[in-house]
Amino acid sequence: MLVTEELTRKVADLARLELTDQEVTTFSAQMQKTLGYIEQLTAVNTDGIEPQYQPFEMSTPLREDVVVPRSLDSKGKPKVLEHAPEVLYDGFKVPPIL
């Protein structure tokens, strides 16, 4: 697996990460080395082995769908907005999308 700077830029873009040119160069070399090490996994025969995504088998517990009132601050505003970066009315403000 060859980690080109182009690949690093593409993956960083997918992850919405802004990288400096220096970071692209450094990370590409480091990822090359790490992936080179990880390639040892190809030597393991995993034919017919089910992937394990959790530490052990667990069931998904179900619970009643109960409505819980949202917590409010001392002024009666939703608590989650108390320390929001920018608030507009009762919501979070972001730049225009269109």
Binding site: R16, E18, P85
Partner: protein, 483 residues
């Protein structure tokens, strides 16, 4: 200044009116202020003193500490800054969360405080718990508790340094690939990663959800048992929280193991190349201790150990790349000044996320890569298949032994800046702690002596899933027998 070895000696002092919870808290606050370890990111002075005053009021009203109902009454604890507390800044040692004040409290912290604990402050760590030396904090590295210039370990480095230097009575850490056990080993304290699902992860800022577990970092095994008993147990707010009835860890830990029927497994693959002589010698002496007590040492094999670092650095970073996508600056977090030039929302996200430190960026990139179209099968799926083989190894090994004894990490603490330039070398330090996370097993690091330069060394004990009580009992007997 007072110095207490465990919670029960603190409670004895409260009962004998030798010191009050308020006085003890003030002593710790003074020590924190004078300390140069950089272990604390936020000191909760006023809040802690209020908690101490109410602890003193309860002790005065009852005549003594009601130990059964409030086993942590008046005990000052440090909380790793990856656990939320309502109204208290929680940074995860990241610039991106420099101003984040969560509106809710982690279940573990809530239960400890309900049992009377005082939260004295939030502890430094590697950013988002990614690292093994506490050099990845946006707020600067943490110094080793007894050896200035050395790392305390990571990612719970602030917790290890604070407990090791007696800046609090005990602390909470989190362990995703060894982040409790390794700093405990480096810093000469007790650190336990419970079985996955024992402690609720509600309010723990997620790094790798299938691996993360909260655990105690303490001066004694008994204290770890007490903390685990108080904060563990089912929580409907964490869907991976175990519904099993929690064992009475503090009682079980105090019991002598049934030595004659005890088999301690020694995995040959854990004696990898690169285990330093001082570490190897102390662990071998520890094995002899068990043998002398009457336990049987059994050679076991965990043949896929050599692949665990590879599996971990695919699984953990993949989960992290997904978990950390929530840090987009919309609902919380720091919006940097550069945002005024943001062209659109995608550009907005990028400028916010540029605030991540280099190790976090590195892991998000690797994780995004491993999950991306065209690479998913070769990397993520393959790693999860080998993860099953690693779990199978443990299942087989535990047919022949009750617990496993091994080193925690190949070396003792290293000097700051020694390994930061080579991420892969740093990752390889985790080879002996990672397997327990991949398979959800409980593990504990207990001090077992000193090595070169008088640096601390820990013994790692591992057990099958949900054998936490037995593990604590074994660790407690070892601690007592060594003293």
């Amino acid at each position: 200044m007072s110095h207490f070895q465990n919670f029960s000696s603190i409670h004895d002092a409260f009962d004998a009116k030798k010191i009050s919870a308020t006085e003890l808290t003030k002593e710790y606050l003074a020590k924190i202020e004078a300390s140069k370890h950089n272990a604390f990111l936020t000191v909760l002075k006023d809040r802690a003193l209020k908690q101490a005053a109410s602890a003193d009021a309860i002790i005065a009203a009852k005549g003594k500490v009601p130990r059964a109902e409030m086993p942590l009454l008046g005990i000052p604890l440090g909380i790793k800054d990856v656990l939320t507390m309502d109204g208290v800044r929680t940074t995860c040692a990241s610039k991106l969360l420099d101003n984040y004040i969560p509106p809710y409290t982690a279940t573990a912290v809530e239960r400890l405080e309900k049992a009377g604990a005082i939260s004295i402050g939030k502890l430094n760590m590697d950013e988002f718990a990614m690292g093994g030396s506490n050099e990845n904090s946006a707020y600067g590295p943490v110094d080793h508790p007894t050896h200035p210039g050395y790392v305390p370990g990571g990612s719970s480095g602030g917790s290890a340094a604070a407990v090791g230097a007696d800046l609090c009575a005990a602390a909470l850490g989190t362990d995703t690939g060894g982040s409790i056990r390794q700093p405990a080993h480096y810093s000469g304290i007790v650190g336990m990663k419970p079985t996955y699902g024992t402690v609720s992860r509600y309010g723990l800022v997620a790094f790798a959800s299938s691996l993360d577990q909260i655990g105690p970092m303490t001066k004694s095994v008994a204290d770890s048992a007490t903390l685990l008993e108080v904060m563990g147990g089912y929580d409907p707010l964490d869907s991976t929280s175990s519904e099993r009835t929690l064992e009475k860890f503090s009682q079980i830990a105090a019991k002598e193991p049934d030595w004659k029927n005890l088999r301690i497994g020694v995995p040959k693959e854990y004696w990898v190349d690169g285990i330093a002589d001082d570490v190897a010698n102390r662990v071998r002496e520890s094995l002899k201790f068990f043998e002398k007590k009457g336990a049987k040492l059994v050679d076991v094999s965990l043949p896929h150990t050599q692949y665990s670092v590879s599996v971990y650095y695919i699984v953990a970073v993949s989960e992290a790349s997904s978990n950390l996508s929530r840090f987009d600056g919309v609902r919380f977090g720091v919006r940097p000044a550069s945002l005024k030039d943001a062209k659109d929302l995608a550009d907005f996200y990028k400028k916010v996320r540029a605030q991540f430190g280099p190790e976090v960026k590195r892991r998000i990139i690797l994780g995004t890569f491993a999950l991306s179209s065209g690479y998913y099968d070769a990397y993520f799926r393959k790693a999860c298949q080998v993860r099953r083989l690693i779990t199978h190894d443990f299942n087989e090994a535990f047919k022949h032994c009750d617990f496993i004894a091994a080193p925690v990490s190949p070396t003792t603490a290293f000097k700051q800046k020694d390994q930061t330039m080579d991420p892969l070398k740093m990752y390889l330090n985790d080879i002996l702690t990672i397997p327990a996370n991949l398979s959800g097993l409980p593990g504990i690091s207990v001090p077992c002596g000193k090595g070169d330069h008088d640096l601390p060394i820990g013994l790692q004990l591992l057990g099958p899933a949900f054998s936490d009580g037995g593990l604590l009992s074994l660790a407690h007997a070892f601690e007592k027998g060594r003293a």
